[in-house]
């Protein structure tokens, strides 16, 4: 049934591509309401994207090939991930070792954009991307630990074998899922961990040198990355079942994003050194949890 799986994958990818900016629009509305503002239409992120994608990419000086291509490499990486992660339909996955592929593609998509931005030579871009890289290196370590825990609990690295991890109800798995929730939040680059763009400090940080189409793809990638990370979290929780994915998954996706938004409005921005300290602590917790899993809890 290769063709059916392929079809499922394509449909899933379309869903993720379309719903990412929509969720962002909903978040903006909710954030506005929480701050006593009216806020834009929930389609505003889509309007922004359409406008940006129609504009030519203005580039300063002589941009390096890396600078020009990195955005698109990052976007394609995410597209591949959305092809094999079950989202609205459960299917599309099933080749060996894809848990690691998932992490690799997801983080490399970010790293490409950051390297491209760094290559522009703008001091703001280099500081923004340095911050973002140090934060995501720290949080990816924790993510790797979580992957190790999942692989341990399910004795496999295949996505089709791993989902849902809640089939094995152990204390270590539950704590692991909790930590994963936090890491997903951090990887969403939400306040207080939104330090790579940091508008009031770095004037956009790693996105500062990008404009027009390039910027549009970066913003789109960011919403897709957020949606994929949340999808991964949900996939680990709900059963791999058609009905569950068609009905429960979208509800959970939106509610998790809304809860995250609500948390975000209560926070200011942390400094890089303080946020790294937080992530480091999470990493220590995860080592303990892995030990717990090893002795069978």
């Amino acid at each position: 049934m290769v063709w059916l799986n392929t079809l499922y994958g394509v449909l899933n990818a379309c869903f993720i591509l379309l719903v990412g900016p929509l969720i962002d629009g909903v978040e903006r509305k909710i954030r506005a309401r929480l701050q006593n503002r009216r806020g834009p239409s929930i389609l505003q992120t889509w309007y922004d994207l359409v406008k940006l994608l129609r504009k030519p990419a203005a580039r300063t000086g002589v941009p390096s090939t890396l600078f020009r291509l990195s955005v698109y490499i990052g976007f394609v990486n995410l597209l591949i991930v959305s092809l094999f992660i079950p989202s609205i339909l459960c299917g599309g996955m099933g080749f060996f070792g894809d848990l690691i592929l998932f992490i690799y593609l997801l983080s490399s998509s970010k790293v490409f954009v950051l390297i491209g931005s760094y290559s522009s030579g703008s001091p703001y871009a280099s500081i923004g991307s340095t911050r973002e890289v140090s934060l995501s290196m720290a949080s990816e370590l924790v993510l790797a630990e979580i992957i190790a825990l999942i692989a341990l609990s399910r004795s496999s690295l295949l996505l089709s074998n791993v989902f849902p991890v809640t089939a094995v109800l152990r204390p270590s798995v539950l704590i692991g899922l909790g930590v994963l929730g936090i890491i997903v939040y951090i990887e969403h680059s939400r306040l207080p961990f939104e330090i790579g763009e940091a508008e009031p400090e770095l004037a956009g940080g790693y996105t500062i040198e990008y404009a027009g189409r390039d910027l549009g793809f970066i913003l789109w990638s960011n919403t897709i990355r957020r949606t994929l990370l949340t999808t991964f979290l949900i996939d680990l929780i709900i059963p791999l079942d058609v009905l569950y994915h068609l009905v429960i998954y979208p509800v959970l996706l939106f509610s998790i994003m809304i809860v995250f938004t609500a948390i975000e409005t209560g926070w200011g921005r942390l400094r890089i050194d303080i946020s790294l300290k937080y992530v480091k602590r999470l990493s220590y917790v995860m080592w303990g949890v892995i030990l717990l899993a090893l002795i069978g809890y």
């Binding site: 001091p123 940091a198 009031p200 200011g268 921005r269």
Partner: protein, 568 residues
């Protein structure tokens, strides 16, 4: 420099002070002003050291005046505030027109750095021994040896076209000055346009990773020279309105300070009711400014919810101002000698204002305790951007910035003006010197101001609104000081003939406070730079005296006054 005053008995009042200062020159006491002229040669720095570091006074500002048409000399006045004695000491230095050089006091009082450079730019008096004798305000392509605030420079002089400027520059080669970068560091430019700065200014941060090694400031990009228009073609009452337009946030404090300066010079007694109304409007302005600052600070800390809350409260305060004056900002109430008739506060208005204030206080107190106890707000403001008490003295910082560094200063309390003479003003003082302390000082001031407005409204007397100002004598010096939301706002005037000023020099508090910013930035994280810069509540336009005079005319035409002050 050390010898003076150590074994001396400390003078107890201004009369003893006057006698004491005979060691340095010729003192002359006129009301609140202690003029000290004919300084004995070589004694200037001892005198300044004595006034600023030993007598508990502080250096406020310096003013250069071209008094050649009056007595044939350039004058430089260094203003020292001695709150304990209730006097301003004006150290009056004379510079010969043929060779205008006086001794610099910056080596003794670093706070004088900019004021002296401003005089070098505008009047052309040179300061011997100044550590950085470079251009401050005039643009780099301004020709050498052209001094705009000299009396023989016409106010409507058309700037040469760019070709002519280029020629002049080639001929005179002005000493443009680029400071050397300390070592091999990344330079992060902050400004002239940056989301953290809401006005065009330029900071250069030298960083190593995320740590700031050193910082430089270049400012005065929007200086338009409104002093020149005021001295050349505006009448006394018109200047009050242009003074209000110096700043979009603390404009009323500028116009009050200006009016007070003229009233001081002319010896006009302002009726009590006008004083009360001035004080009430000043306090409303203070609350507005502090709300605005809090919002900006939270925004810079990434806490946009707090920003929205504070700016919503600010809307209510502006509604309140609209009820009182008809405008949300730019009250336009001040004239020399009092308040304009229509700006009277009727009893029914007073009741309404009180009710609105109570609502604002309730709303404010609902949110602010939660906001200032937020973990990340504390983490990012406590122990960050610390200015020690001695550094604060060194740079003569003012207002909430000084009070957060443990200096007890407030014009309202120690040099009461307007209606502050009749009520007690509570001033919060904290010793920590960090951003958190500055936030708390402003927080307390908001509450104190609301309280103060209530008391002022209760006691407002029934008197006329303005005094007779038909006679303003010539050649009188006056200093008007108000406690602006950011600190002491000082306006210096010398009266002239034909209903015009001879010299007007506004000095906004940010002028002194900004000097301390590079010192606060050193050794901090780059991420904290915006909030450190913002923590002094910088008002760049105040410092630069921005005013939009005429958009259409461009720079080729003489500056017009129509549309700004509505006359002529």
């Amino acid at each position: 420099m050390r010898s003076s005053g150590i074994n001396q008995v400390r003078p107890r009042n201004k009369y003893e002070l006057m006698i004491d200062l005979r060691r340095f020159g010729e003192p002359r006491l006129r009301g609140k002003y202690l003029f000290l002229s004919r300084i004995k040669s070589g004694r200037l720095r001892d005198l300044v050291d004595y006034l600023h570091w030993r007598l508990g006074g502080y250096y406020s500002t310096s003013i250069g005046v071209d008094e050649r048409p009056l007595d044939g000399y350039f004058h430089v006045y260094h203003v020292f505030v001695l709150e304990e004695y209730g006097v301003y000491v004006l150290v009056d230095l004379i510079a010969d027109p043929g060779h205008p050089v006086v001794e610099s006091i910056t080596p003794v009082v670093p706070a004088a750095n900019w004021a002296e450079r401003e005089i070098m730019d505008f009047i052309g008096v040179k300061f011997r021994g100044h550590p950085e004798p470079h251009r401050l305000i005039l643009p780099d392509d301004w020709p050498e040896n052209v001094y705009p605030l000299r009396k023989d420079y016409p106010y409507d002089d058309k700037l040469p076209t760019s070709d002519k400027i280029a020629k002049l520059v080639r001929e005179s080669s002005p000493a443009t000055w680029e400071p050397e970068a300390p070592g091999d560091h990344t330079v992060i430019p902050v400004g002239p346009y940056h989301p953290a700065l809401h006005e065009p200014e330029y900071f250069e941060l030298f960083v190593e990773g995320e740590k700031i090694v050193d910082a430089r400031y270049k400012g005065f990009m929007v200086h338009r020279g409104i002093e020149k228009i005021a001295e050349s073609r505006l009448s006394y009452n018109q200047v009050s309105f242009i003074a209000e337009r110096i700043c979009g946030i603390c404009g009323f404090t500028h116009s009050t300070a200006y009016c007070q300066a003229v009233e001081e010079a002319a010896g006009i007694d302002v009726p009590e009711r006008a004083e009360y109304i001035r004080s009430i409007l000043l306090e409303i302005e203070r609350i507005h400014s502090h709300f605005l600052w809090m919002g900006v600070a939270f925004h810079l800390l990434g806490y946009d919810t707090g920003f929205m809350i504070m700016w919503r409260l600010r809307e209510s305060i502006m509604d309140l101002a609209e009820e009182l004056t008809g405008s949300r900002k730019m009250y336009g109430a001040n004239i020399v000698g009092g308040i304009r008739d229509k700006w009277d506060i009727r009893d029914d208005k007073a009741a309404l204002i009180k009710r609105m204030l109570d609502e604002i206080r309730e709303e404010y107190l609902k949110y602010i305790p939660k906001i200032i106890s937020l973990e990340e707000i504390k983490k990012r403001t406590r122990g960050v951007g610390v200015l020690s008490r001695s550094d604060a003295r060194k740079y003569s910082v003012l207002g909430p910035h000084a009070r957060a560094s443990g200096i007890k200063t407030d014009v309202r309390k120690y040099r009461p003006y307007a209606a502050y003479k009749y009520v007690n003003v509570e001033i919060p003082v904290l010793d920590d010197g960090d951003i958190y302390a500055r936030m708390i000082v402003r927080h307390e001031e908001i509450l104190a101001s609301i309280d103060l407005i209530h008391r002022l409204l209760d006691n407002i007397p029934k008197t006329p609104l303005h005094a007779d100002t038909s006679y303003i004598p010539e050649r009188r010096h006056g200093i008007g000081c108000t406690e602006a939301p950011r600190g002491e706002d000082l306006h210096f005037v010398i009266t002239g003939r034909d209903n015009k000023l001879y010299r007007w020099r506004p000095r906004a508090p940010t002028y002194n406070n900004l000097l301390s910013v590079p010192a606060m930035l050193r050794g901090e994280y780059l991420a904290d730079a915006p909030i450190i810069i913002a923590s002094i509540d910088p008002c760049f336009s105040c410092t630069d005296h921005v005013v939009v005079v005429d958009l259409r005319s461009g720079r080729r035409r003489p500056l017009r006054t129509r549309g700004v002050v509505g006359g002529r």
